[in-house]
Amino acid sequence: MMQVGRTAWKTVEWVLLAAVGLVFLFPFLWMFLTAFKTMPEVYQFPPTWWPESWQFENFRIAWSSGPFVTYVMNSILVAGGILILQFLIAVPAAYAFARYRFPGRNLLFGLSLIALMIPSQVIFLPVYVEMSHWGLVNTLWSLILPFGASAFGIFLLRQSFMQVPDEVIEAARLDSASEWKIMWTIMVPMAKPVLVTFGLFSFIYHWNDYFWPLIMTNSDSVRTLPIGISMLKAAEGGKQWNVIMAGNLILVLPILVVFFIAQRHIISAFVYQSK
């Protein structure tokens, strides 16, 4: 009896999961299929699912509409650079907040939490002026530096560093390990799932970021993928939806790859957290 109930429940669970999954998958699927359609087919009603004839041409048009190799390289440099900088700053900061008592600790931590609550659009002007004073506008640095310190990263890592038992650190100190060594060889590996999850969030956010690169850069040589793709759109007049979708597919493909590589860790990050 128990067994039957459990199987029934499992089935319900699976059906629900599949339904929710489909809801999230649908836009992806639509983007994917639209990217291969001809323009008249995009407008067709009732809409078709499967493209009548597969237009690989759309990808060529999207790709040749600008220096896409440069865009891709810049996107990698920017999203990657931010990630490295964020780790270099967030790990020691989170370690200090989690493991040290020093005057003003709570105040400082509070301040960094406030940074979490201010959207970048609100403070773009002062940061822009600052970057301009340093002569960094229209360089990749202006896309990387303002995001170097991530309040979210510090917060997330502090939580997970706090979960490491005191005994582990004390044992290391007894073995006369330096603080530096404790941080990088004991704390960081223990927080690996959290680091991966945070890294993924950060990477996806900055990979997709449109507003900041648009504001900070003027020339194609330092622009990122989202800007390149937005140039496919016309302000007024008809949009080439098929080409735009092909461009978007180029944009999200690396993210999907990164996501699939990292997904095992993401799941364990949540298991780890809820332990």
Binding site: S65, F124, F211
Partner: protein, 435 residues
């Protein structure tokens, strides 16, 4: 999105102050040096041009700039795409406060007043010296702010009534389309087809957008703002007429209000029109080329129908020069702006993009006449210009139009009566104008 709008306002307010201080510096230091340089040094002047059109139109602008550079040895224009009109606006304002602004840029017509008021723009009067008379008068309405010339028409549009002539003919209607609101309603009734309880085709559809509301108010002999720009003028018969017209047709089930926010609703309307589920729509002349390419029926355009009279706003963007540039850059900028909007350039740009030609000479030219003969739809927009009024352009109009639009949409959705909506919009809008 909201954050973006807010930040733009904040920047506008902030710029007025910081700019003035920086501007005076520039003038005292700038006037002596650059003038000497122009004569002696043979180095070309570099100017930055920021534009806000993507897609094929953006590519065409790049090509125009290339042609300009090839034909002008003493000037090098560096074009840069900066996103949509509004993204470009926030960027221009940020760059002005940082001191690395472009020399020429595109500004959406309704925002000219806000930019001029923030003292970001250069007065073009002394440069033009009467040369502005070559532009079509109907397009110059949004070029002046407080009697000074600040902007030159560039990529300009106007709303049109688009028709599915095949559907009109099949229903025994005049394929030239309705001329008045009453006729639009009769046409819509005739074109609406029901299948059981469901409507298979609607006669008419339009995005409930401020641009079309402006058009309908003008057609009713009204205005959005009073002449001194200090009061909202929509709490009047002319201000209510568009809403009564729309809600009436919606109630009768002969008009469809496309779902979606802002330009999404426009896209739905266009899609329904192309799929022949809607017989007539309002949309921009800038859509003509692509609709024509994708329509599988005889597509026609007509004036927006009249209530008391014909009427339409214009839209699109103008070219402006920035006040902070040096004298030398300004001279080069004027040369460039004039060239970009000259008859020789505006004809192919218009034919390529669907935007209107901006000089009178262009409209009367042989090339344009030939093109119009081949494709009469292109001429409708230019003809309608004689009834065109400028868009309101007080500094706060961007926020004001959001307020009006929200209330209009409430009326259309049946959440408020026409009177309530207009009353609310006036109250809220008045507060914004007082600021």
């Amino acid at each position: 999105m909201l954050a973006c709008v807010l930040s733009v306002t904040a920047v506008l307010a902030g710029c007025g102050g910081s700019k003035e201080a920086a501007g005076t510096n520039n003038q005292s230091g700038g006037s002596a040096a650059p003038q000497g340089q122009t004569a002696s040094a043979g180095k070309p002047v570099e100017i930055d041009f920021w534009y806000a059109l993507g897609g094929k139109n953006g590519e065409y602008i790049e090509k125009m700039v290339k042609d300009f550079n090839a034909s002008h040895k003493d000037i090098v224009v560096k074009p840069a795409y900066q996103g949509s009109y509004y993204e470009n606006h926030s960027k221009v304002l940020a760059s002005v406060s940082a001191g690395n602004q472009p020399d020429v840029t595109m500004v959406e017509v309704g925002s000219i007043g806000a930019f001029a008021d923030a003292k970001v723009l250069e007065d073009l009067g002394p440069y033009a010296n009467g040369a502005e008379k070559k532009y079509i008068p109907g397009l110059l309405g949004n070029s002046y702010w407080k009697d000074k010339l600040y902007a030159i028409p560039f990529n300009r549009s106007t709303p049109l009534l688009y028709l599915n002539r095949d559907m009109l003919k099949a229903a025994g209607l005049d394929p030239n389309g309705p001329k008045t609101w009453d006729e639009l309603r009769q046409f819509s009734e005739a074109l609406t087809k029901k299948e059981g309880d469901k409507t298979a085709t609607y006669g008419f559809s339009t995005a409930i957008d401020i641009w079309f509301y402006e058009a309908l108010v003008f057609q009713s002999g009204g205005k959005i703002l009073t002449d001194d720009n200090k009061e909202l003028a929509i709490n009047s018969e002319a201000g209510k007429a568009p809403l009564e017209f729309w809600t009436g047709m919606l109630k009768e089930g002969v008009m469809k209000a496309p779902p979606g926010e802002k330009y999404n609703a426009w896209d739905v309307a266009k899609q329904d029109f192309l799929n022949q589920q809607v017989g007539m729509i309002f949309t921009s002349t800038g859509d003509l080329r692509s609709l024509k390419e994708n329509a599988k029926f005889d597509l026609g355009t007509a004036f927006l129908p009249a209530n008391k009279n014909f009427g339409a706003p214009t839209g699109g963007a103008n070219l402006v020069m920035l006040a902070k540039s040096s004298d030398e850059e300004k001279k080069a900028s004027w040369e460039f702006m004039q060239w970009m909007t000259d008859t020789k350039q505006t004809i192919p740009f218009s034919l390529e993009s669907g935007y209107m030609p901006v000089t009178t000479e262009a409209v009367e030219s042989e090339d344009m006449k030939k093109a119009y003969e081949k494709e009469p739809n292109f001429q409708v927009a230019v003809k309608q210009l004689q009834y065109a009024s400028p868009r309101p352009m007080v500094p706060g109009y961007k926020e004001l139009q959001e307020v009006i639009m929200t209330e209009i949409q409430r009326a259309v959705l049946g959440q408020a009566s026409v009177d309530e909506a207009i009353q609310k919009a006036t109250e809220k809008g008045q507060k914004l104008l007082k600021k």
